[in-house]
């Protein structure tokens, strides 16, 4: 026996994506970008990376 993702739950998640309102999708979009802008900005990482080599 082995573990696989639950197919019915995946189908439910796809349905949630299909049924999501524009507002809901806009929230997901904004949250994604907010995460990227707060933690994944190259310039911020580079400054700290360079400090390790000085």
């Amino acid at each position: 026996m082995r573990l696989l993702p639950n197919e019915s739950e995946l189908l439910g998640a796809l349905s949630a994506l299909l049924d999501a309102s524009v507002e809901k999708r806009e929230t997901w979009r904004r949250n994604s970008l907010a995460w990227a802008e707060s933690e994944f900005v190259f310039e911020d990482g580079l400054r700290r990376f360079r400090e390790l080599f000085n």
Binding site: R2, L14, W28, N31
Partner: protein
């Protein structure tokens, strides 16, 4: 010692030596592409790649100059002395005292990186996953030996970079040394943006477009295969999934017209590619090895997805640490529940 080196430029301000079983090359995975992006911002540095020749070196690195040194693999424990000798020779050949970037991912890497900490105090270990926890699962003596070697290497390194905050926390407890930096894949500030959300209705002729990018490995396979089964079982579901990566998916995964392999992607333009989609897919398989190996990782593809402003559908065991962030950030639906399946009934890949 086998060497295959190119000329080192005469005028250089600093030297950086990268130690990894694979050569410094953008085709050797997302972690190495991340490392290359940072090295490219050290324009005065001469970069040297010391490796074991595990994959072909195509010379694709995007840096002004890289010299390569291929080492012959040596057997533990005499390997350490041999690698120290090789690294000292390299060190002596350089015009200045180099920084060593330790990029371990295999048992040979761990030995080579430990050797580097005996050669120089200017060492920085950069960890992309918790590979050491899954090494030698059925050989306890070797497992303990290499964990001890890894522990020494990690503690002796002058600087430590972890790929995720959970890894930094756990390694601080496990090895008694704090990480200096949590650092993974990132994008320039001006590149982080998304397309407006889709307002037109989803139909079978204009379906919801889902995208997955990455190197197709068993770590990621099972949820994608499950996605394919759901599409097959629901012919009226207006969803398509496109896969991009250097490796095609395993046999039987593609569902013509609905789950397709679109070939390799260009890392420099991946955000543009992603912005053409409605949703991104993040997957981890539910097997024990993946759950151990990937538990503390932070996938570069997730950085890409959110930097393109996409909602993310996550299909993963809940104990992968990045799921904490995904749930807290509310970036899309998640599937964490497993189901039990007979190996032979589902697939030959178990």
């Amino acid at each position: 010692m086998k060497t295959a080196r190119t000329e080192v430029p005469v005028r250089e301000h600093k030297s950086v030596v990268v130690l990894c079983h694979v050569a410094l090359d953008e085709r050797n995975g997302g972690g190495m592409r991340t490392l290359l992006s940072y090295l490219s911002q050290l324009p005065d540095a001469a970069i040297h790649s010391v490796h074991f020749g595990d994959t072909a070196n195509s010379g694709r690195h995007g840096l002004p100059v890289v010299s390569y040194m291929q080492l012959a693999r040596r057997r533990f424990p005499m390997s350490i002395r041999g690698y120290i000798s090789s690294l000292r020779q390299l060190q002596a050949s350089l015009p200045n005292d180099p920084h060593f970037v330790l990029f371990p991912n295999t048992k040979d890497d761990v030995q080579l990186c430990l050797a580097a900490t005996c050669v120089s105090g200017r060492t920085c270990v950069w960890l992309m996953d918790d590979f050491i926890s899954t090494m030698y699962p059925t050989a306890p003596v070797r497992r303990h030996a290499f964990r001890a070697v890894f522990r020494q290497m990690y503690r002796r390194a002058g600087r430590r970079i972890a790929i995720s905050t959970p890894m930094a926390r756990e390694y601080a407890v496990r090895y008694g040394k704090q990480s200096d930096l949590v650092l993974g894949k990132r994008w320039h500030k001006g590149e982080i943006r998304g397309e407006p959300v889709r307002t037109r209705p989803v139909t079978m002729t204009d379906p919801l477009r889902v995208v997955w990018v990455g190197k197709y490995l068993p770590y990621y396979h099972e949820p994608i295969a499950t996605f394919g089964r759901v599409l097959r079982a629901n012919p009226d579901l207006p969803v398509v999934l496109d896969l991009y990566g250097q490796e095609p998916p395993f046999d039987g995964v593609v569902v013509p017209g609905r789950l397709e392999y679109r070939g390799p992607f260009n890392d420099a333009t991946i955000l543009t590619t992603l912005r053409a989609y409605d949703t991104a897919l993040l997957t981890y398989s539910f097997d024990t090895h993946t759950r151990g190996f990937m538990r503390l990782s932070f996938p570069g593809k997730l950085t890409d997805y959110v930097s393109a402003g996409l909602p993310v559908l996550t299909v993963s065991p809940r104990d992968i640490s990045v799921c904490d962030d995904i749930q807290n950030r509310i970036i899309g639906p998640c599937v964490f529940s497993p189901t039990r399946a007979s190996c032979s009934a589902r697939s030959a890949r178990c």
